[in-house]
Structure formats: C-alpha cells, structure tokens
Symmetry: C2
Subunit: 170 residues, 2 copies
C-alpha cells in the first residue's frame, strides 16, 4: 500500500513481477477477446474474421498485401476468411486505380454494421478500464505496450507523439 511502484522497478525484474506481467497480459487478452468471439459466432465467424473486418475498417482501400503484412499469416489463410467475407457481402473489392493488380478492400454497409457492433463492445470494456485506472495509468499502459512490440511494429505508431520515448519520460 505504501509504495505504488514497489514492484515495478525495471532494473530488478524479479520473478514475481515478471510472472505478474505475463499473467496480466494473458488474462486481460483472454477476456478482451471473449465477448467479440461470442458475437462473431452468431455470424459463423471467428477471430480471424474480426481482425480482417477491423483492419479493413481502419484503413479503407487497403490492399491484400498490406493486410497480410499486418496479420502475419499466409495468403492462403487470409484467402479463406477474406473470400468468405466478400461472398457474404461484408467486404467489397475493387481494382486499384494506379495499380490494377491490386484489390482494394472496403467494408460494405453490412460490414460496417458488424464492425460497429464489435467495436462498441470493446469500447465499453476499454472505457471502463481507463476510467477505473485514471489518465496517468492509461499513459503508462500505452507506453509499456508500445515498447513491448517489435521495432517493426512500433513504426506503426510513430505518428503518435505521446508514445515517443522523449515525450513519455518527463
């Protein structure tokens, strides 16, 4: 109770701190994905569909390659999920204007509706956690997750100034 930071000195990462971090990640991720998984199962979809819907919603006119790069799966794996989403009219494809080999991906209205349903669910959870934890904690949460990523993945967030090392440590 005395010292909020007692277990957090990174220079002395003791067994308990280490395990605590691993378990917090495991359990929070488990719970974070459980409800969307539930929703998706009503549509006969799984977590893979969620990821595709999410990133296409995030980056309209995304190409297949970009999506593969984000998801880090093979095109064969993506193909099954993506073509299912296209077939059932959640996502639509159109040829690229500059490069007509590309299939630019967009959510249809139906896709946007599902996207909202999934996002709203997670929004509630995140809002609750952020509110309970407070603004300073949220900043710390974002900074640690950012640094947990590979160099490569961190680039994706480089436009966000509050995540940059220089601005984060006072």
């Amino acid at each position: 109770m005395a010292d909020v930071k007692s277990g957090a000195n990174p220079l002395f990462l003791r067994e308990e701190e280490l395990r605590q971090a691993m378990e917090l990640l495991f359990f929070s991720y488990r719970d974070f994905t459980a409800e969307p998984d539930q929703i998706l199962s009503h549509y006969g979809f799984g977590r893979a569909h969620h990821r595709v819907i999410y990133f296409v919603g995030r980056h309209p006119a995304m190409t297949v390659s970009e999506l593969l790069d984000i998801l880090r799966i093979t095109k064969q794996s993506l193909s099954r999920v993506l073509s299912q989403l296209v077939r059932e009219d959640f996502i639509q494809q159109r040829p690229g204007t500059e490069d007509r080999r590309q299939r630019l991906l967009e959510l249809t209205e139906k896709g946007k509706k599902l996207e909202s349903e999934l996002i709203e669910n997670q929004r509630r959870r995140i809002a609750r956690a952020y509110r309970a934890a407070g603004a300073d904690a949220v900043a710390g949460f974002r900074t640690v997750l950012y640094n947990l990523m590979d160099e490569d993945g961190r680039k994706r967030f480089d436009h966000i100034e509050t995540l940059q090392p220089a601005t984060v440590r006072r």
Copy 2:
C-alpha cells in the same frame, strides 16, 4: 509533445484512442507470443503447451480442475495437450494426498528446463519494455490491464496490493 495525457481522458474515449488501445493490445500480444511460439515449435509443441507448462510451473501440485478453470477450455482439449506433455516427460502426475481422485501436476526437470527457456525469452522482452517505459508507466500498465479483465479474473490478483483501486489512484 506538450501533453502526455492528451489522448487518455477516459471520459472522452474518442475513436482514435479506442482504436489505439485495441491495436496496441493486438500488436503487442502478437509480438509477445511470437518468439515462444518459435521455441515451442522445435519441440513439436504449440501455444497450448506453453500455457500448461507455464501454469503448472507457477502453481506446483496444481490439479487438473484448477488448470481447466484458468485456461477456460474443455477437459478434452486439455487432455490432448497434457497427456502429450506427460508422455514426453515434461510434466508428471501424482495422486492427491487428501483426495486421491486428483492428479497433482508438477514439472519434471525436463519441463522446468523448457519453462525457463520460454520465460527467459519473455523476461528479456518485458525487461526491455519496462526499462524503456519507466516505473510510473509500468504501474499504469499493470493497473489498466487489471481493470481490463473480468471481475472474475481480477480476483486472481487480489493479493497484490499495488493493483487495488484504493492504492492505485492517489
């Protein structure tokens, strides 16, 4: 640069903050599990084996029911993975002393070696992130993840005073 907390006011969870949280979780978890997955594949194991090894290592003499409760999978699913680990001498079982129906689970020496290998890998990543983020950020990271969990999962951490709401918010 000006305001570290600019994007973190939980009362106004804007689209960008929401998406940022979702993506930080997705990418950091993806990268956090990628290397262990690599190691495990050398043994012909997957992430499911990792989870079993981890929690048995964490709680020696754990029963099968406790493990099922943590992992939230069916006993049939666990059975395949667990019996493989027992067969290949990573985990050993012994009857409970009080209740002889139970099979108490323990890591063998071989199991402990694999556990260390996996933990050491993640320790480096966590240590790096903690060091880069700083102690305050670490406290925030832990607090947010804690609150992201279901009520139920949070109980697992209730013995850790630095995660309790009263002590976390000044």
